[in-house]
């Protein structure tokens, strides 16, 4: 029996409707999971993996 933390406290996963999804693009890979109870969202978690770096470009000037 898996328990899920919800807005109504810990609930047995079997009592809930589970929805999952993901986003995969150049910037991120994101997964999310939702649990619904009688049409009400009672849990949502998301996991984002960042792909894109931020880069500082540096230069040294020449004298010629």
């Amino acid at each position: 029996m898996a328990l899920v933390t919800t807005t109504k406290g810990e609930m047995d996963e079997s009592l809930l409707e589970k929805k999952e999804g993901f986003v995969d693009n150049d910037n991120e890979y994101t997964t999310w999971v939702e649990y619904w109870l009688a049409g009400e969202l009672v849990h949502r978690s998301a996991h984002v993996t960042l792909k894109k770096t931020v880069t500082l470009s540096a230069e040294a000037a020449s004298f010629n």
Binding site: T5, T6, T7, V23, N27, E28, T30, W32, V33, E34, L41, V42, H43, R44, S45, A46, H47, V48, T49, L50, K51, K52, T53, V54, T55, L56, S57, A58, E59, A60
Partner: protein
């Protein structure tokens, strides 16, 4: 209004004045704060601010600590080019939170130095309900690190 992924311009200046110390253990402490999709954090952000920050059950203003288990590293690619880079050594995790209003950015900032801003990282808008939000870091190498200082 929108958030834009960027290295903060003030951070670049502060590198030249030795303001930030990313050394593991003896260096500064860094934190990650989440911002609403309606906020405006970008290259011009100079410090952490509660303006536009998410709020909700389980979330503390200012966000959470960033784990720094690996000091910055550098590699020379040639006689004229190289890269210095740094990535937090663990995921940034907000546990047991409810963030009902959409958010799409995290601001990394130096909580040891007057909350001076480091960088802004964006992602698709999210909400969290009685759940966990996790930001997993990219590979800490010359091409993928979260923060890179590069010459070409």
């Amino acid at each position: 209004m929108a958030n834009t992924q960027a290295m903060c311009t003030s951070f670049m200046q502060e590198l030249m004045t030795a303001t930030h110390n990313f050394t593991t253990g003896t260096g500064d402490s860094f934190k990650g704060a989440l911002y609403l999709a309606s906020a405006t954090v970008n290259a011009s952000t100079t410090a952490y601010s509660v303006t536009g920050e998410v709020s909700g059950a389980g979330y503390t203003a200012g966000g959470v600590a960033v784990t720094n288990g690996t000091s910055p590293q550098s590699t020379n690619a040639s006689a004229t080019a190289g890269v210095a880079y740094w990535t937090p050594s663990a995921s940034i995790t907000y546990t047991s939170v409810t963030l009902a209003t959409a958010f799409d950015a995290v601001l990394i900032y130096n909580s040891s130095k007057s909350d001076k801003a480091v960088s802004v990282h964006t992602f698709g808008s999210q909400t969290v309900t009685a759940g966990t939000f996790t930001l997993t870091m990219p590979t800490n190498d010359t091409t993928n690190a979260l923060i890179r200082l590069a010459t070409t």
